[in-house]
Structures are given as structure tokens and as C-alpha cells.
């Protein structure tokens, strides 16, 4: 008989090997569970043991069930069976680290109060044995009354016994015998609970009293009104008078119980031997060596994203281009072909292009986290980041954003504090990413000759500095205004170093890539199609001829003229060449006219008064609008609008000459070439022109509110930045000349 599937909730401290155990138990049968209203995500997996199906939920790693945020409260509610999305757990699997049993049992004693059978998995016994710590599993089971299973999650040993114990515990329905908390606390908790209109689990009533201004208190006060807060405060006062002041009363009671348990079940050397972790930390958190190693690691990461990802990205670009050409040859000209080639294939290519960077960055992050170095990096950088209201853990996401904000935003998952994480997400796109390089290069080439490499580098450096300065400033402002309050709790454990598990790292990298493709892919593609449509339609001119037809005819005429020019000799050749050049110009002119008359072109021209204060003509304005879904689009659009030839390998880009010639015919831009180019660069440095980043922000924050906010503030900032740049630049030019 197949019985109902069992639900097992997996809880444990951070760095216990909890994810490793989860992966070992559920293999690749995993998916992510989302919960409305909160950013928390929990992994769900399953396995079959005998004829029983077991569903596993991996709760976020935590030191305690004292919920400090709505996200943490979701985990507690889930354990109590108070979430409508999930069945109440049949068993709670509590994983603890054998080498640090005292501290890890703290969470276990809380879990024992939930009234659900608990199985204790003791992990990393080998590591403990190396440190001279011996855990007597039988005694531990006898003292706690819980089924105890020793496991080696990284090697997958003890799993069969663990599965046995889980099924057995579920069938036993045995409530654990939780350690008693002092009587006054129990009495006050009961009194508070009986005064409320709904029935409240005793565990939550205790949390309401114990967690001063915690998430439980906030939630209850919301439900039952401010009067409850007064009652809670009075109860806490009475507890303090009775010698049971919160929160110390809980910790004292639990540690008293734990010490009794470990005194019987754990033997350890009286003098703590120096272990490898201590020795490593003497170097890795050292003033000089630690800092050097940190910069070396960061440089290696950064360098890999740039150098290893770039060839792959170029390959994807080339592949997309090649595939587009193949399709173009197979299909007849018309809106459908343009949609497929310029909309869909280019759009998909634009999404897939980000994959190499995401995979490489996540491989680094997963290794750094799994081996324990991430906490050291945060330790080293915290001072710097806390100045602007962020924490040490914001450093890696910010640095990664210099390559690309998409993996950077995803990397913020390592930040536990909600507001820190949000602030980091919102400022990460200000860092100059690699997609901005083409526009920087083009604009710099407009006013600096190729020979002055030093001056070019200086301007490029200044562009990067805009991000390095603006991001912390905006973060600081956000933490003072919109994201005020809830100072980040920076009490962090520096876990012992260990060898990273290939499986954990592999799964994490795979996960990051897959989630990006799946969720981001659709929306990015849609936005690419929209921008294609507004640049394609209307596709006919005033006489009602389609541009596509006109362009094709003109191209045929050009090719014919070129052929004749190649075959002709003497005077004829010269004439034929002039003819061919005229035909080429006509093709470019037609394409530009099409763009000019397209919906986006019309919008660009209509908005010209808006661009004028920045020193821009409608062409720059329209190209900028076209590059809102992906900023690298600007160069291609400008090429069409300024009727420039394609760049050839090893040659200077003809686009720069075309733009210069065009600007020289204009009284403002001709004189202010430098301020205009700088104004474009500053705009691109500060503006949120990346559909992928916006979609990823939506994904990570679980709300459209934040991507909309991020887009709005960055666009305003970019406009103001460009405005100030051009106006000041113009003043300076006026004074000099």
C-alpha cells in the first residue's frame, strides 16, 4: 500500500553542511518554493525510501528560531504548519556539527518545542575527531531522547540509516521532550496567549515575549493592536523582577540543558589544540598578508570574469550572427523575417550572452562560501562598506557588477540582512559594467586621437570612478531614507575552513544559470521584440513603398554598380566607382530614413527639446532610447542614423568620422564636441539601460516595485548628470575659446 508522502523539514545553523545533506538526500529531484510577500526561497526535494515517498524542505540556515524579519517568521510558521502552501512537517531533521555541538544544539532545543518528532543528524564527526572531540552518539540519544544518526554529508555516508530514522520517527508521532524553560516565563506566555482572540501555539507565545522588537512581536501587534504591545512590555518587566529577564533567560536555560547533555556525551581535550583553521586564519585575517590574499582572490575572480567569459561571449555573439544570417537567407524579406532575425534571434542571443559571466562568478562565489573564505572577505571589507550603510558582504556583489550587474545582483543572495541586500541590489547597476565599454570607446575616440592612449585611459578611468563614487553615495542616501531603520546585524560567525564540495558548488552554478535562463529569458526576449517593433514600424514611406523592398532594390543596384566598377578599366572605372559610391550612400540613406520615420525615430525627434539641454541631437536621443533594453545597442543604431559604413578589422571605425562631420555642421555640437561626448558617457554611466538587470532585480526582490524604482532613480540621475556635464563643459569651452 502506498501511503501519504511524508514531509520532512531540514533545519540547521549556517555552515553545518545542511545544503550538502539536502543535495545528498534529494539528488537532482529539486525545485525552489516561493512564498508570497517575502523574498525567502526554500529548496524542495524528495526521495523514496522503501515504499515511502519523502518530501524534503530545506529551510534557510539560522542560529535560532527567534525571527528578526518577516522572512525568518515564514520559516517558523512553516515548521508550525501555519503556511497554507505547505503541509505541516511530519518530522524535523535537525543537523548539527559534531565539532561545535554546544552551539548547534541551541537551535535543536528550540525545534524540540514545536511538538513535531525531531531527528538529530550529527555531521562532520571526522573533523571533530581530528580536533580530539569525541561524540558518543548513544549517550547523546539517551540524554536528549531524540533519535541520533551520525552522517558524513560530503561523502554521503549514514544516509540509509538517516532515512530509516526519519520514516520511523514520523510513524512514531513522538513529541520530543523539550528542555523546560523557567516557570515564570511559561506562566507569562500562557497569560498573554489566553488574552488573544485566536488560539496561539505556545511556542509563538513564548517567542512574543522573548524576542524584543522581533518579527513575532511586530506580527502580533499588527494583528491584535497596540494594546498587546503594552501587555507584552509589562510581562517582560514582571519577568525581569522575577529574575528571568529576557532575552538572557532563554539562553541560560538552554545552555544549562545543553552543557548537561554534552558533559555526558562529548569528551574533548582540556587544552584546545591549534587546528589548521586557526593557522590559516593567522595568515588570512592578518593585516598585511590577509589583505594581500584578499586582493589576489578578488583580482583572480574579476580577471576570470573578464578574460574567460569574453571569448565565450564573443562566440555566442558570432553564433547568433551566423544563425541569423542562415535564417535570413532562407526566408523572404518582410516583417516576419525581420522579427525572427532582428527581434527573436538577436534577443535570445542577447540573453544567452550573459551565461558565461554568471556561471564563472557563481563558481567563484560557491567555492568561496563553501570553503569558509566568504566570511573572512566580509570581515576584511566590513569597515569600508559599513561607512555607506552596507555590510562586508556587499563587496563581492558590487565588484562583480563591474563586469556585469546581472550576476552581481544575483550574488547579493549571500547578504542575510534584507535592507542591506536591497540597498546593494539598487546601487549595483551604477557600477560601470562591460556593456558600457563600447559607448565609452566610441565617445572618447570622438575627441581624443588614437595616439594619446594615456589621456584615453584617464577618461575611461574617470568613467569607472563615477560608479565607484555614485554607488556608495546612493546606498548611503537610501539607508538614510527609504531603507532606514533595522541597522544591519553584523554578528557573524567565521566558520572553520573546509574543502568545498564539488557537488554543492556544481549544483549552485547550475541553479544560477538555469534560473536566469528560465525566468529572465522570457521577459528580456519580450522587451527585445518590443524595441524591434518600434524601430521597424511603420515600414513604408510617404509614397506607400515598403522600406524593405526599397532597401533590397537599392542594395542590388549597389552590388551591380560595385561589380561594374571592379570590372571596368580606365576612365570608365573612375566613373563606375563614383556611381558605386553613390549607390552605397543611397542604401545607407534609405536605412537612416526608415529609422527616422519609425515609431522610435518619431519619438526621438519629438523629444529633441528634452535632449537639447544635454547637447544631443535627435539621433543620439533616439539611439539612447533604442538602447534602453541593452546599452550596447547604441553603437549599431548610431551607425545607421549617421549613415556610416561598417567597421572593418584593423581599421579605424568610420562611424567616428561620420559623427564628427555631422556635428561640425551644427553650431552647438561643432564647438562643444568634448562636452557632448562626455555628456553621453556620463548618461550611460549612470543610466539603467539593461532589461536583463531589471528582470533579475524583479526576480531577486520578488516585486516589480524595486526594478521600477531603480530604473526611475537611475534615469533621473543620468539625465541630471549629463545635463550638468554638458552645461559646465559648455561654459568652460566658452571661456577657453
Amino acid at each position: 500500500m502506498a501511503s501519504r508522502p511524508l514531509t520532512v523539514a531540514l533545519v540547521g545553523n549556517p555552515n553545518t553542511g545542511k545544503s550538502t545533506l539536502f543535495n545528498a538526500l534529494s539528488g537532482l529531484r529539486q525545485h525552489v518554493g516561493n512564498y508570497p510577500g517575502v523574498t525567502v526561497e526554500m529548496k524542495k526535494g524528495s526521495f523514496t525510501h522503501g515504499d515511502r515517498r519523502v518530501d524534503l524542505i530545506d529551510l534557510p540556515g539560522t542560529y535560532s528560531l527567534a525571527a528578526r524579519s518577516p522572512d525568518e517568521l515564514v520559516a517558523v510558521d512553516l515548521l508550525l504548519g501555519r503556511r497554507p502552501e505547505e503541509p505541516p512537517p511530519d518530522v524535523i531533521l535537525s543537523i548539527v556539527d559534531a565539532s561545535n555541538l554546544d552551539r548547534h544544539l541551541y537551535l535543536t532545543t528550540q525545534v524540540m518545542e514545536l511538538g513535531v518528532p525531531v531527528v538529530l543528524a550529527v555531521n562532520m564527526i571526522d573533523l571533530a575527531t581530528n580536533q580530539g572531540v569525541r561524540v558518543d552518539v548513544a549517550r547523546l540519544a539517551a540524554e536528549t531522547g531524540l533519535p541520533v544518526v551520525p552522517v558524513q554529508a560530503n561523502r554521503g555516508s549514514g544516509l540509509a540509516e538517516l532515512k530509516d530514522a526519519l520514516v520511523k520517527a514520523a510513524d512514531s508521532h513522538q513529541r520530543p521532550n523539550a528542555p523546560a524553560l523557567p516557570a515564570p516565563l511559561e506562566a507569562e506566555a500562557q497569560a498573554v496567549a489566553t488574552g488573544l482572540k485566536d488560539s496561539v501555539p505556545p511556542f509563538l507565545a513564548r517567542r512574543l515575549l522573548l524576542d524584543v522588537s522581533g518579527a513575532t512581536e511586530t506580527w502580533f501587534v499588527q494583528q491584535h493592536g497596540e494594546a498587546l504591545r503594552t501587555r507584552v512590555i509589562e510581562a517582560r518587566k514582571r519577568l525581569a523582577n522575577a529574575g528571568a529577564a529576557v532575552p538572557a533567560v532563554e539562553a541560560k536555560a538552554r545552555y544549562a540543558y545543553i552543557r548537561k547533555v554534552t558533559a555526558a556525551a562529548v569528551s574533548k581535550p582540556t587544552v584546545r589544540p591549534k587546528n589548521t583553521s586557526d593557522k590559516l586564519d593567522r595568515v588570512l585575517t592578518h593585516k598585511v598578508w590577509g589583505t594581500l590574499v584578499f586582493f589576489a582572490v578578488m583580482f583572480l575572480m574579476f580577471w576570470s570574469i573578464f578574460t574567460a567569459a569574453t571569448p565565450l561571449m564573443d562566440l555566442i555573439d558570432a553564433g547568433t550572427g551566423w544563425f541569423g544570417k542562415q535564417v535570413e537567407e532562407q526566408m523572404s524579406a518582410g516583417p516576419l523575417r525581420s522579427l525572427v532575425v532582428d527581434g527573436i534571434i538577436t534577443g535570445v542571443g542577447g540573453v544567452v550572452k550573459f551565461l558565461p559571466q554568471i556561471l564563472i562568478l557563481f563558481a567563484f562565489i560557491a567555492v568561496l562560501e563553501d570553503c569558509g573564505y566568504m566570511a573572512r572577505a566580509a570581515f576584511l571589507m566590513d569597515r569600508l562598506m559599513s561607512r555607506c550603510g552596507l555590510s562586508g558582504k556587499s563587496f563581492i556583489p558590487m565588484l562583480s557588477s563591474v563586469a556585469c550587474a546581472v550576476p552581481g545582483v544575483m550574488a547579493t543572495r549571500v547578504i542575510e540582512n534584507h535592507r542591506d541586500r536591497l540597498a546593494t541590489i539598487l546601487v549595483a547597476p551604477l557600477m560601470s559594467c562591460s556593456a558600457r565599454i563600447p559607448v565609452y570607446v566610441l565617445m572618447i575616440s570622438l575627441f581624443l586621437p588614437d595616439e594619446s592612449a594615456f589621456a584615453q585611459a584617464l577618461v575611461m578611468f574617470a568613467m569607472y570612478m563615477i560608479g565607484f563614487v555614485a554607488a556608495p553615495l546612493v546606498a548611503w542616501v537610501l539607508r538614510k531614507t527609504l531603507l532606514r531603520g533595522e541597522r544591519s546585524l553584523f554578528v557573524m560567525e567565521l566558520p572553520a575552513y573546509k574543502q568545498p564540495s564539488v557537488r554543492t558548488v556544481g549544483l549552485r552554478v547550475f541553479d544560477a544559470g538555469w534560473q536566469f535562463l528560465k525566468r529572465a529569458g522570457t521577459v528580456i526576449l519580450a522587451s527585445m521584440i518590443v524595441i524591434w517593433a518600434v524601430q521597424y514600424f511603420p515600414n513604408w514611406n510617404a509614397e506607400g513603398q515598403t522600406y524593405e523592398g526599397l532597401v533590397t532594390t537599392a542594395e542590388d543596384a549597389r552590388d551591380e554598380a560595385k561589380k561594374q566598377a571592379a570590372e571596368a578599366e580606365g576612365d570608365d572605372k573612375e566613373r563606375a566607382e563614383v556611381e558605386a559610391n553613390a549607390k552605397t550612400a543611397e542604401v545607407k540613406h534609405l536605412k537612416a530614413e526608415w529609422q527616422r520615420n519609425s515609431l522610435l525615430g518619431q519619438t526621438g525627434r519629438a523629444l529633441e527639446p528634452l535632449f537639447a539641454p544635454l547637447g544631443w541631437d535627435w539621433k543620439i536621443g533616439m539611439a539612447t532610447l533604442a538602447s534602453f533594453p541593452a546599452r550596447e545597442v547604441i553603437v549599431g543604431t548610431l551607425r545607421i542614423l549617421y549613415e556610416a559604413d561598417e567597421a572593418e578589422d584593423g581599421q579605424a571605425d568610420p562611424l567616428r568620422g561620420s559623427i564628427r562631420d555631422d556635428w561640425d555642421t551644427d553650431p552647438v555640437r561643432g564647438k562643444n564636441r568634448v562636452p557632448v561626448a562626455l555628456s553621453v558617457m556620463v548618461f550611460f554611466a549612470l543610466c539603467m539601460q539593461c532589461a536583463s538587470t531589471l528582470v533579475v532585480i524583479r526576480r531577486e526582490t520578488k516585486s516589480w516595485r524595486w526594478p521600477v524604482f531603480c530604473f526611475t532613480y537611475m534615469t533621473i540621475l543620468a539625465y541630471l548628470g549629463a545635463l550638468v556635464t554638458f552645461q559646465i563643459g559648455r561654459l568652460i569651452v566658452g571661456m577657453v575659446s
Binding site: Y63, S64, A66, R68, S99, N100, D102, R103, Y106, Q131, L210, D211, V212, S213, G214, P247, A248, E250, A251, K252, Y255, R272, D281, T285, H286, K287, V288, G290, T291, A375, F379, L380, M381, D382, R383, L384, S386, R487, L489, F490, V491, M492, E493, L494, P495
Partner: protein, 74 residues
């Protein structure tokens, strides 16, 4: 004296923990109880945060929070 007055290599004992309730509770949960002994491991290269070891746990906390931890040197 408080935690921030200690120097690397010192051994100390916790007398009392005051300050932000969230920080106090977290420190208790991590085993930094009143009466507990610990090794002070020093400050980060930039001078903040600081690091200590209690039991088998290495903890890092910011100066601002550590100033609420009253200790005595052993």
C-alpha cells in the same frame, strides 16, 4: 572595560551584555553568555570589526556592538 578595550591575544570573561536587543540576543544564542570565557583574537585590518573565540566558535562583531559587551581581563 568593554570588548573594544582589549588587545589581540587577551583572554577575558563576559560580565554583562547591553545594547541593541537584537544584538544582545544573537550574542547569547551564539554562546557568549555572562560568565563565559573567551579569547580576544584582534581587530580586522581596517580596525573594525573585531574577532573573538568563545568555545569552538569564532565570532566577529562591530565596535559599535562590542562596546556594549562589558568584560574583565583574565
Amino acid at each position: 572595560m568593554t570588548l573594544v578595550d582589549m588587545t589581540a591575544g587577551d583572554r577575558g570573561q563576559v560580565v554583562e551584555i547591553t545594547g541593541d536587543p537584537a544584538v544582545v540576543q544573537r550574542l547569547f544564542e551564539l554562546g557568549l553568555l555572562e560568565g563565559e570565557e573567551f579569547d580576544f583574537l584582534g581587530f580586522a585590518p581596517l580596525g573594525d570589526p573585531l574577532e573573538l573565540r568563545v568555545g569552538n566558535t569564532r565570532l566577529s562583531l562591530r565596535r559599535a556592538d562590542a562596546a556594549g559587551v562589558v568584560v574583565s581581563k583574565l
